[in-house]
Amino acid sequence: MFPPSLRSLIEGLARLPGVGEKTATRFALFLVTAEEDYVRLLGEQIQGLSSSIRPCHRCGFLAQVRSPDEPPLCSICADNHRDRSQLCVVGRMQDLLAIERSGAFRGRYFVLSKLLSPLDGVGPADLPLEALARRVHEDGVREVILATPPTVDGEATALLLARELRPQGVRVSRIASGVPHGGDIEYADQITLGRALEGRQLIE
């Protein structure tokens, strides 16, 4: 029904998260009839993404490329007001963003991009352990906060990182896990409840 180039645009758009065939068609029809300047700029922005955005060379988060010979540095690593002595290790960028939204952390981050996975055979050699150790050393980090997810893979990764980092003389802590705020204790799973009880705190 649609001309081939529109058809392939719809197929491309439908691969975006949260976008189905119907929404993709709507987007495509909008773009076909939209102002030419807007469409050209959007196209250029998308095309330039891979060369203008790179992982930050210090933490792995997204960073703007300023010049070809300058290693990319993200806004968090570039912010001198942030506490260098605390380093929060996360599995994915999305987790970094979530912690940033909480506003509860003023240190810096390290994004692993991968977790240990016993089931899939992802082992220590597949994780950026050397880069993390270098980061801890170079920044004079005093505490590493492990914020990998509370799953078998996330816990395994935390165990490994703690084992690797402790000899560096750095304090290693694990974020607490437990019953979610507004959640129901009755419906919490055994692991969550076990952790919540283990991580209990005195009320002063």
Partner: protein
């Protein structure tokens, strides 16, 4: 939405299970490989499980024993996961890196060895006993030794067990107290007349292998674990070409 006739024919299964693999499918779904106590190895789709907040009725984790509710439609190979929860939580195992590593390898072996859609009570019992052992307060053997013993038992369970009492080619029995030539690729002892094997098995080790294969915990000396793991891998390469899956 369902056609009334299809709905009538749908079969529900409720069983204990172990997660053998989870592969993302689309944005929020996952394709699972499960070893079910009553069904053997099955594939199932878990809808919405990769959403930031999956439904509270679906909790999927490897290593721990799960309870799952699966729907099976006639003529459709892939089942649909309706519900899953943690049934047996292995608190201690998941805190030991070496045990986790061994558990992952054991589950990958099961994934490679278990035939699809056939109840395998022996495989279920072996892997469950292995994981429970790793979760024990004071494990009977090192995780690598337990893993090596599991490898021997799984091979036996699917009919690829090593022949350790006599020559795998001519059947000539091996005297109890004699050393014997062994070839993992050929599947066991090989007598001199049949060409022998690349390794010499001392009688004590040969007996230890037999006892480990029969289920005796801690029968395998820890120093032999790596060698036995290599033999299990060689046997798997020959039978399934899955040796490269060992991490």
């Amino acid at each position: 939405m369902n056609h009334p006739r299809t709905r009538r024919l749908k079969v529900s299964h409720r069983t204990e299970a172990l997660l053998l693999r989870q592969v993302p499918y689309g944005e929020a779904d996952a394709i699972l490989t499960l070893l079910c106590r009553d069904l053997g190895k099955v594939s199932a789709v878990a809808r919405g499980v990769l959403r930031p907040r999956p439904r509270a009725t679906v909790l999927l984790e490897p290593i721990h024993r799960l309870w799952v509710h699966l729907d099976e439609s006639p003529g459709v190979e892939m089942m649909v996961l309706r519900e899953s929860r943690l049934e047996g939580v292995r608190h201690r195992l998941v805190r030991r890196l070496d045990a986790l590593d061994a558990a992952g390898q054991g589950l990958r072996w099961v994934r490679a060895l278990a035939p699809p859609r056939a109840p395998e009570p022996t495989i279920w019992l072996e892997i469950e006993a292995f994981l429970e052992g790793l979760d024990g307060e004071t494990p009977a053997a090192s995780p690598r030794s337990s893993l090596a013993a599991l490898g021997l038992r799984l091979l036996r369970a699917v009919g690829y067990g090593f022949e350790l009492e006599g020559c795998v080619r001519c059947g000539k029995p091996c005297p109890q107290e004699a050393s014997a030539r062994f070839d993992a690729k050929q599947g066991g002892l090989v007598c001199q007349a049949c060409g022998g094997g690349p390794l010499v098995l001392r009688p004590e080790l040969r007996h230890a292998l037999v006892r480990a294969e029969q289920g005796e915990d801690g029968a395998l000396p820890a120093v032999e674990a790596e060698a036995v793991l290599d033999w299990v891998d060689l046997a798997l390469v020959v039978h399934l070409s899955v040796g490269e899956q060992r991490a």
